[in-house]
C-alpha cells in the first residue's frame, strides 16, 4: 500500500509538469495580455510593465523561470494585484474555500446518502418519488438563481442570515453559501446512492443475508452500504476537489473572499502567474483526492487490490 502511494506521488510529478506546460501554452496563445484594458496604456509604459514582469523574455525562458521559481516555492507576483504575491492570494482564499467546501461536501454526502437510502428502500413508492423529485430540483436550478433567491427570502425577508460578507459574520454567513454549494451535489449523491443501493440490495450476498434473517438495518449498514458506497466514493473525489477550490458564483453573490473567483478572473484578466497558481492548486487537489478515492476503493471493495 505504502509503495503504491509513493509510486502515485512520483507519477504525479510528470503529470503536474505536463499540466503546467499545457496551461502555460494555452494561456499564452489566448489573445490579449494582462495590460490590455479599457484605459489603454501608452506603449512605453506598457513596455516598462512587461519588462518589470519579465514578459519581454522569450516564452521558453519565462516558462523555465516559472518552473524553477515554483520548485523553490515561489509562485511569483500577481500582475493585477501587485500588492500581493500569488502565494498570499491563494492561501488567503483557500482558507475560506476549504472550510466552506468541506462543510458543503460533508452535508451533501450525509444528507444525500440518507435520502438515497430512503429512496432505494422505498423503490417506486411515494417516498422514493418525493426524494428523487426534490433532489432533482436541487440540481436543475442554476446556482446563480438559488443564491439571490436565498438572499431575498432568508436574508432580506426573514432576516435570519446576513445577505453577504465573510469576516466578522460568524457561522451565520456560512449558511447561504453552504446550502447553495451543497444543493447540486446533494442531488447527485442522492441519485447515485439510490441507484447503487438498489443494485447492491439485489446482489447475491444480500439476498443470502436476508434469507438468513438478518435485520434490515444490519443488512443495509454492514453489507449493502459497503458496496453501494463505491460510486459515491468515485464521485466524491472530484466533487471534493471542485468544492474546496471554490465557486465564483457563490463567492461573487455572497461577497466571500474564496479562491473560486480567481479561476475565472485570473484567466479573464490574463493574470498569467495567478492563473498558473490556480492551475497548480486545482491540479494538486485533484491528484490528492483521486489518490484518496483509489485508496478508499481498495478498502471498500476487497476485490480491488493495489500491490
Amino acid at each position: 500500500m505504502l509503495r503504491y502511494v509513493l509510486q502515485r506521488f512520483l507519477t504525479a510529478i510528470p503529470t503536474l509538469f505536463i499540466i503546467l506546460a499545457l496551461s502555460f501554452l494555452l494561456m499564452r496563445i489566448a489573445p490579449g495580455g494582462p495590460f490590455n484594458q479599457e484605459k489603454g496604456l501608452n506603449p512605453i509604459i506598457k513596455a516598462n510593465l512587461e519588462k518589470l514582469y519579465r514578459l519581454d523574455q522569450p516564452i521558453w525562458n519565462q516558462f523555465t523561470d516559472y518552473v524553477w521559481n515554483l520548485l523553490h516555492g515561489d509562485f511569483g507576483p500577481s500582475y493585477n494585484l501587485p500588492d500581493f504575491t500569488v502565494a498570499e492570494i491563494l492561501s488567503n482564499g483557500l482558507k475560506v474555500s476549504i472550510l466552506l467546501g468541506l462543510v458543503a461536501l460533508t452535508c451533501a454526502l450525509v444528507f444525500g446518502g440518507i435520502l438515497g437510502i430512503i429512496a432505494a428502500l422505498n423503490q417506486n413508492r411515494s417516498a422514493d418519488y418525493a426524494v428523487v423529485a426534490t433532489a432533482t430540483a436541487g440540481s436543475t436550478i442554476p446556482t446563480f438563481v438559488i443564491a439571490p433567491l436565498f438572499q431575498l427570502i432568508f436574508a432580506l425577508g426573514l432576516k435570519w442570515f446576513p445577505v453577504g460578507g465573510w469576516t466578522g459574520g460568524g457561522w451565520k454567513v456560512m449558511v447561504g453559501p453552504v446550502i447553495v454549494l451543497m444543493l447540486p451535489q446533494l442531488a447527485i449523491v442522492a441519485r447515485l446512492m439510490r441507484g447503487a443501493m438498489i443494485e447492491s440490495l439485489r446482489a447475491h450476498h444480500i439476498r443470502t443475508a436476508r434469507a438468513m434473517g438478518l435485520s434490515d438495518f444490519s443488512i443495509i449498514v454492514r453489507h449493502a452500504l459497503r458496496s453501494a458506497l463505491l460510486p459515491i466514493v468515485s464521485y466524491a473525489g472530484p466533487a471534493a476537489a471542485a468544492l474546496v477550490t471554490g465557486s465564483i458564483i457563490v463567492e461573487t453573490i455572497f461577497a466571500i473572499p474564496g479562491i473560486g473567483r480567481y479561476f475565472v478572473d485570473a484567466a479573464l484578466n490574463r493574470d498569467y502567474t495567478l492563473v498558473m497558481g490556480t492551475v497548480v492548486v486545482i491540479a494538486v487537489f485533484t491528484i490528492v483526492f483521486n489518490l484518496i478515492v483509489d485508496l478508499l476503493y481498495a478498502v471498500l471493495d476487497p476485490r480491488v487490490r493495489y500491490d
Binding site: 501587485p82 482564499g93 432576516k159 453577504g164
Partner: protein, 527 residues
Amino acid sequence: MFQATMKKFLAGAAICALMSTAAFAEVVLQRGSAADPESLDPHKTSTTYEADILRDLFTGLMAQDIDAKVIPGAAESYVMSPDGKTYTFKLRADGKWSDGSPVTAQDFVFSWQRVVNSETASEYAYMLAPVVNAEDITAKKMKPEELGVKAIDNLTFEVQLRAPTPYFLEMLTHQATYAVSKANVEANPKDFTKPGKMISNGAYILAEFVPNDHIKLVKNAQFFDAANVKIDAVNYIPNEDRSAAMKRFEAGELDMYGDLPTEQLADLRAKFGDQIKIGPYLGTYYYAFKTTKKPWDNVKLRQAISMAVDRDYLAEKVWGNSMIPSYSFVPPGVAGYEGPKLEYAGMSQLDREDAAKKVLTELGYTPEKPLKMEIRFNTSENHKNVAIAIQSQLKPLGIEVTLLNTDTKTHYGLLEQHGDFDIARAAWIADYKDPENFLALCKTGTGNNYAEYSNKDYDALLAKAAAEADPTARMKDLSDAEAIGVTRDACVVPLLYYSSHNIISPKVKGWNMNVMDSHPTRWMSKE
C-alpha cells in the same frame, strides 16, 4: 455571600456597559465598492476603484474638498512663476506621516522620481508628464534624478514644467502624484503597502486588507486635520455583484455603494428615492470605426451611421437615464471649454434618419444590397444591450449589423494591436478635468487611437495648444481640434456621457455629488 456575588455582578455589568458605550462611540462607515483596489501603492494604481481609498490614506500636495474643488493638502501654499512654468510649494509645518515623522520635500522628490522611473512601471506615470524630463525618464532616455523637481529645504518643493499647464494643480489631487514615506519605502520596498507596514499622511491609516473581503482604515491621529475627522473607521467592502450589493445596502450591511445595477434602475428609484445619486461624470462612451479600412474610411458613411443612432433611446431605455446622450467627445463640465457639438445634435431623429438614408443610398447601400457591419464590444450586459439597440436602429437603413462580444482583454488586445474590426466600443474616463485628456485619443500614433485616425491639422492644433501659455487661447485650439477630428471627421462616434452612480444611506452626511465622483471619508459623518 449573596451581597458579594451581587457586587461582583454589578461591577461586571458596569464594565460591560462602559465597554459597550465605548464600542458604540466608534463610528464605522461601511463603504461598498464594485471591486477591490488593484494596489494601495499610490504609484501603481490603474483603476478608478483606488481613488477614494487612496484619498483617505494619503494627502497629495493639493486635496479636494467636499465638492472636489482643489484645496491645499500637504502643501499649505504655492507660488507660480509669471511664465507659469515653475511652481514652488510650501509644505505645512505640521504635516506628519502616521509614524510621527515629518512629511518633507525630499519625500516628494523621492516619490515623483519613483513614479516616472521606468523600473516602477507606473501605469499613471503620464500624470507627471508636464514635469521637465518626465517622459524621457519613463522612456529610459534619462535618469530619474534628472526629473525637474527639487527640495529647496525640508518644506519647500519646487517643480519645473515643460509648458504652462493650467490643469497641473488638478493633477496634484490624483493619487499618482501623492508622496510615500521615503524612509519607509526604502526599509520595506516589497511590503510597505501591507497593514502594519504602511505609513501614510492622510486622514486614515491602513489597518486590515483581506482581498475580496474588506479593507479597514482607522483614523490617523497624526493627520493635520484629525480634529475634524468624524468617522473613526472605514471598511471598504468589495461587492462585484451589483444586485447583491443592493440587497446588502437594503439590509443595512453597507452604508453606501459606489455603483448601481442599471438594468434595475427604474425600480430602484421607486424603492430608494433620493438615496440613489446619479450625477454628471467626466467620461464618454463611444464607438470607433476602423478609419483605415474600407468602407469606413469614408467620412460621409461614418457620419451617416453616427447620425442614425438614436442616443436618447440608448440613454433612456438601455441605461435607465443613468447616462446622458452625447454629441461631443469632451463631456460638459470642463471649466473654460466650449466644445463643438455634432451638427445633427439639434435635428429630430426622423430627419436624421432621412438624411442618413439619403447618404447611404448615394453610396449604393439599400435594404436589397445592405451594408454589412460588425459591432465589437467587450462582455457586459449593458454594452450588449447598447449594441442590440443600435443593431435594430440601423436595420431600417439597410445596414446589416452583426454583434461580436469578446472578453475585455481580447477586445482591447485587438484594438491596441490595430487588428481587424468594423466598429468597436470603447470608453474614456478623464484623469483630470481637461479636454486634452480626451482629444489625445485621436492624435496620430497614440496607443489609444483605436480608429487609427490621422489628420495633420488636428495634430497641429493639439501641439499648438500644448505650447500655448494663454488658457483661453489654449481652450480655443482644443475646441478647434475637436471640431475637425470629432465633429467633422467622426474619429470617434460619441454616444453617451457617463454618470456617476451611487447609493447613499440617509445616515451618511457630508457626501456631495461632484463631477470627479470624489468622496473622501474625511468630510463625512454618520448618524
